[in-house]
Subunit: 149 residues, 2 copies
Amino acid sequence: MEPVPMLLAMTYRAMGDQFHDRLRQIGLEPLRPAHGYVFRFLKARRATTVDIGQHLGVTKQAAAKIVNELDEWGYVLREPHPTDKRAQYVTLTTKGRDYLKFADNLWSDLEQEMAEAIGEDTLATIKTGLAAYLQHVHGEDQPGLRPVW
Amino acid sequence: MEPVPMLLAMTYRAMGDQFHDRLRQIGLEPLRPAHGYVFRFLKARRATTVDIGQHLGVTKQAAAKIVNELDEWGYVLREPHPTDKRAQYVTLTTKGRDYLKFADNLWSDLEQEMAEAIGEDTLATIKTGLAAYLQHVHGEDQPGLRPVW
DNA sequence: CAAGGTAGTCAACCAAGTTGTCCAACCATA
DNA sequence: TATGGTTGGACAACTTGGTTGACTACCTTG
């Protein structure tokens, strides 16, 4: 049996490819994974570019590029930080929230198909197992999302 | 709970970081993941640069770069293909096999620690579950290893 | 044996990061 | 409250690790 990281990488790739293909089939412009992760991150909290960079596991400059793109494309906008005049909160526009909602549906479709393929309980074990491992290794501050290739 | 791909990406990153850190601690030069995957691939079969590219999920030119590096560093060598004068088999040197053996030990240490953290049966379920999903989606020809970021 | 496909290489290019530098604003503290 | 260290954001130069395209030599098949 292959080592765990290879299984993780291949599964990640396989799911991502499927997601991407279906987005294109539908005609929605397929952003990169990082963009989607930013949406999901912003949905749950107010965040600055620095926060986003940390969450993705890249430098703040790299995060700034992504935020700029999302801004140009109309998915996010920047608003002044209430107390810190240097900082800006990045927030989702309606377009951004709509995209996220659509992507969420697509993801849960894919996850449902995965459940049918390998069993609902197996999928549940995978999710809780991985989450527990992450908790064990990193505690509260989760690792960056970006896979090191 | 986070969607599956995020869990996969974070766990991949977390394990890879640990692996990398320990390699450095020991003083062994830490190659990139792709190099290790090439070793593992070559251990099981004779392969050309094109085969390797396909396995990694990159173009043959990108694979050629990696093979060149491994050649320069003494981990692999090229030998003529017995029947096809264009092609070359890439094969592991002793240095390459030694590195792989060492890495394998380190990986099984990490996997053992994972088993202790989340339970041996949970880990086993994760491995067989992911493998089953890959089988279900791709059949025999597995997807490339490279995570699309 | 002609026509199309394939392995490997060279070269130009590109995307997505990085490091380094800077400024304005923040914050702790003595 | 002055001050020295830190932080958010931006700009620029550079590096990395890929891509596409073109070409040759060789293979394969009708």
